[in-house]
């Protein structure tokens, strides 16, 4: 263990500089996040994630945000275990019939002010699954969406750029 730890210390951090904030995402957020929220939250957001029907590809890349290269928490962004602790709800997947209610309840359990981020092509409008009888549609068909991050799946840099845009508006 000592060897691995010393090597990590000597090597220096792997963490990379942040990507530029997504301009399109910023534009999308202008209307949704106001100054009051900024005062209340400071430069920090707690994120609760719900997979509402994803193939789990998006989840893999969300996980990657916590690795040494992207280190999400340095930006004041962190994933929390309960919706009651969250400011932001990230949602992946087309919303399935079977997940609709659980998604709604998670959203309702979050305190105001709160924002919803739809992540991945399926979450935007159902993607490849739109029209399937087992699927309600995109996240916007169930909840008010403040930001969309496209991609199948979006890679960690795209995810980071989108979430940083949210932080910039919210803080």
């Amino acid at each position: 263990m000592r060897k691995t730890m010393i090597e990590s210390l000597l090597r220096g951090p792997l963490t990379e500089p942040p990507p530029p904030v997504d301009a399109a995402a910023l534009e999308e957020l202008v209307q949704s996040v106001n100054r009051a929220a900024r005062a209340r939250l400071g430069r920090s957001l707690s994120i609760r994630h719900v997979d509402a029907g994803s193939c789990n590809g998006c989840e893999l890349e969300l996980h990657a945000l916590s690795n040494a290269f992207y280190d999400l928490e340095r930006f004041g962004l962190r994933f929390v275990a309960s919706p009651r602790h969250a400011d932001v709800l990230t949602v992946t997947g087309p919303v399935t019939q079977n997940m609709r209610e659980a998604l709604l309840r998670t959203y309702e359990a979050m305190p105001d002010p709160k924002w919803v981020v739809a992540i991945g092509g399926c979450a935007v409008d159902g993607g490849i699954f739109s029209g399937s009888a087992a699927v309600v549609g995109g996240v916007k068909d169930v909840l008010p969406v403040d930001l969309t991050i496209r991609g199948c799946p979006p890679n960690p840099r795209q995810l980071l750029a989108g979430l940083l845009a949210l932080l910039q508006k919210a803080s």
Partner: protein
Amino acid sequence: MTLSHETVNVDGWLEAGDRLAGGSLTLLGLWADPPNVKMAMLDEASGDINIITYACRHGQYPAVGVKHPPAIRLERAIRDLHKLDAIGASDTRPWLKHTAPPYEFLAAEGEALHQIAVGPVHAGIIEPGHFRFTANGEFLVRLEARLGYVHRGIEASMVGVTLDRAAMFAARGSGDSTVAYGLAFALAAETALGIAAPRRAIYLRALMAELERLANHFGDIGAICNDASFSLMHAQCGILRELTLRAAEACFSHRLMMDLIVPGGVARDINEDGVAQLRALLAEVRRVFPHLTELYDNTASLQDRTVTTGSVKPEYARQFGAGGFVGRASGRDFDARRRPGYAPYDALKFDVPVLTAGDVNARVWIRIREVEQSLALVEQILAALPQGDLRIDLPSRGGDGLALAEAFRGDVLVWLRLADDGSVARCHLRDASWFQWPLLETAVEGNIVADFPLCNKSFNCSYAGHDL
């Protein structure tokens, strides 16, 4: 390996159920192609696969699950999706379709038992599913999973679309195994059409499959240790996983290599400059991974959590035909790359590690050994990569085909039937998780509640791949 097809009457269907229950055959899949039901069975001794077809009468067929429990959930799914009833079934609750009235969980009787309900939304960034625990103090006496939350209607969506379009649905069966799903689908389609992909494509497919296996095994090994509160391994394995995904992106322009395996070949060639990054990855893993293995092996506090925790009995692994590290950690020597086997693995050297302890520790060690095998396979593939075409044109004709491909968590089975114009008439995807989820329920019995995340992560079953 030979693959045989047979149409059976009631007696033939029942006899097959008896042979499954008796253990001379292993259930590979049970699905509907209305008005028929089909069952694929493996003869473990010879490696032969037999597919039997039974024509339902009045939408009914004799239940297999009542004699052979691994079939129960498959029968429940068939009823939900195709309205065909298994007559004589002991469990007639819905499975993939969630409808009112409230779902009745199986009962547990005894003094001082209490229930803990978890999910479908979990604390971490994971897929949705519900776990109903019955505990006596800290000890689990029963776990029952309720799945189906991410049922997207994949199989219904594939009906009537082109093979290329259907391949995109298959690739989203389970995102962590998108390469394996693409591969199994392509192999099934090629079997149905009586064609084979060009040799270069076959080698590139295997390269992607081994990269996918490496990335997932790194992620799993780290995440299992993390669930035992040993975050150093998690951080270090996370680095290896990220480097693997970056090498995949450098080679194939997509981190998860999604939609790159298509019926008839591969959608794109390997980027030449990606190969250097891939070789650098191999060197880095060979340098770092032995230290991490040693660290895992020599950390007593970690071993204390993983050894003898969450044991799967070998007889259950055999009965359920459990694939992947779940089966191989419990003595079931099965790997679809070997048997039924597919190119180019017949020309490559690799071992299939098998252990018998069946605990969390054994499932970690299977992954560690498979990382070593996959590294060697990637090296062999790079050395032997033939020149030539990437894809052949697909003929427009009918047919049906079955294929198995080895994903990191076990065998993915795909069966499909093509209409005369070459479009998909019916396709069935069966993730390895179908036969692993029930074993998780047996593995946690007698363990403490706090060890469930550890057990669960060591299985890492797919929700999406199972829920379809």
